[in-house]
């Protein structure tokens, strides 16, 4: 094994050696990948596979599922299926923007904190631990409420909440490996701190980052849906799963289940897809570490 793994190699080895490998638990990875890929495809192909305009009234309201409207119509007479298809774009956009933001802040801070230690480490850890202990959804609500409803603002709110997750994990791992022989060797060769962190420590954390990434994406999907359920993400008539579920709620106990059932099911499937991948990967990583 090489000392430093490039992320590309990691990804390739996962695809070749794991998705197709005969290991117990690989089914979770396959099912997870299957779900996530189909939803991503759904978002990409939205204009082709959605029969109606998601934001317009296309038929009578409150129609139950039928061949014409496979998931029925909602109170405005919009096609629920088309809204589900287009809604995948919003949630994926918000979640991936949020994750990219929290990674790009949490990972460098974690590296610095773990690598240098001392006062900066104490201050950062304390701040991050306080944030981590606080209910994520409540913090996100506060931020989203101030920023106002829009998908990008929701992404910022969610990003903020998951910075401590990345920070804590990266800091811990950096502490664990910063005294390894190869890091010392890099120092001996005269590599500056920045190089040691970026080229020697960070690449060795890529497996852990991947696990935390999938698990935190699963979690932030639920947070996004929660925020938009509370009316903090999109504005009418943008299709969005969490928001649509809320809009359909008043009619549920009149027997009109389809406006609530399908959006919520999609939220769960997407979150479950990532959770399954994360579960399988974390098993793999912990196996590799104990070996």
């Amino acid at each position: 094994m090489r000392i430093v793994d490039r992320p590309v190699d990691v990804l390739r080895s996962f695809l070749r050696g794991y998705l197709l490998a005969r290991v117990p638990g690989v089914w979770m990875l396959r099912v997870g990948f299957g779900i996530v890929l189909s939803i991503i495809l759904m978002a990409i192909l939205a204009p082709i596979i959605s029969p109606y305009d998601p934001a317009r009234r296309v038929d009578e309201p409150y129609l139950p599922p039928s061949w014409k409207h496979p998931m029925g119509t909602n109170r405005i007479g919009q096609d629920v299926y088309s809204r589900i298809v287009w809604g995948s774009r919003i949630i994926l956009y918000v979640v991936f923007l949020a994750t990219a933001l929290s990674m790009s802040i949490g990972i460098p801070l974690g590296l610095i904190s773990g690598y240098y230690g001392g006062r900066i480490d104490r201050v950062l850890s304390m701040v991050m631990d306080s944030m981590y202990a606080f209910p994520a959804l409540i913090l996100a609500i506060a931020i989203a409420a101030v920023l106002g409803p829009s998908p990008s603002n929701t992404a910022i709110a969610i990003a903020f909440v998951y910075i401590p997750t990345y920070f804590r994990m990266i800091r811990g791992q950096t502490l664990a490996i910063k005294n390894s022989l190869y890091v010392e060797a890099a120092h001996a060769l005269g590599a500056p701190d920045k190089t040691v962190m970026a080229k020697y420590i960070l690449p060795n954390l890529s497996h852990t980052i991947l696990v935390v990434f999938t698990l935190s994406v699963a979690d932030s999907i639920l947070t996004e849906a929660g925020l938009s359920y509370l009316g903090l993400s999109v504005t009418v008539p943008t299709p969005d799963w969490g928001y649509d579920l809320r809009a359909g709620q008043p009619f549920l106990l009149d027997g009109m289940w389809w406006m609530v059932f399908f959006p919520g099911l999609m939220v769960m499937l997407l979150a479950m897809g990532f959770a399954l991948i994360g579960e399988a990967l974390s098993e793999r990583v912990s196996l590799a570490q104990t070996r």
């Binding site: 944030m131 959804l137 506060a142 409420a145 101030v146 009316g231 549920l252 106990l253 479950m272």
Partner: protein, 339 residues
Amino acid sequence: MARGLGYYIFVRALMIIPTILILYTIVFILLRLLPGDPILAVVGTRNIPPEQLENLRHMAGLDKPPYIQYFDYLWRLLHGDFGVTLAIPMGTPVKNYIFSRFPATLELTIFGFTISVILGLLTGTVAAVKRGSAVDTGMRLYSIIAYTLFIPWFGLLLQYFFGLVLGVLPTSGRLDPDISLKTITGLYVLDSILTGNIDALISSLAHLVLPSLTLGIVLSGAYTRLVRNNLVDILSMDFIRSYRARGIRDWKITIYALKNAFIPVITLMGLQFAILLGGAILTETTFSWPGMGTFIVDRIDYRDYNSIQGMIIFFAFFVSLISLVVDVIYALLDPRVKY
């Protein structure tokens, strides 16, 4: 260095102060650094005379320089003043809402928490005892599915099934409207027991079933995994083997092992409580439960950021307090913990 439990509790309680201060600072900075004038947000697009705007600004404490605002609010917090509402009804102390709504949230979280721990222990134990079998895989899947259930969706499915299809359980509120209950603690179950009100007890318990089941099932997944993994480790230890050799029954051995597996579960309880409160907001909204969550959501609609800030600080207190309690329980149960 044994200085006794009292000393440990004291030091641990002191540590709440920096936590609250940090959270307060974060919330304070966030609410002021982020773009948008909170007062204009409350007012919205309505045209309002400048004097009234000034008045609102004064009520929110925003008419002074930020550093004075920071210490002003902190000072008032120390006196139990969480600020006033900025939207209708304007000028009501947030404290009043905390008093009236906190018991509802507490009642829901206590029941949800209990259900999640019981379910987690049951599923985790079953998985560990039957490890490697289809049951084990099933429980693992259960923990993933439970974790990824979207609370409003799951809650509404339960409402549809038990409230509409079977028609056996109420789907919203805390008590039937035709039942009167004298409130003492605000925890309806406790109050109806204290006042000997059987009707209210039945009604309040019936109202609790669906919301606390929703919350409990969603949060049980994390326990399932933890209990299973710990129990698997412990069941392979020497002392368990010696129990087996002595011919002690399997279920008794499982109970001995569970006692040992319980300590990490307590740590998780502390962490889970924060998630529980977040989940409670969604559960309350789904079931029109008149707790702090629905209050926050109402205030969001008004963009009443003053109330939101007050509630969040209160949540911070509450979460810190719970983690203190968990740490103390931990120290009591595990003699190895140094204090």
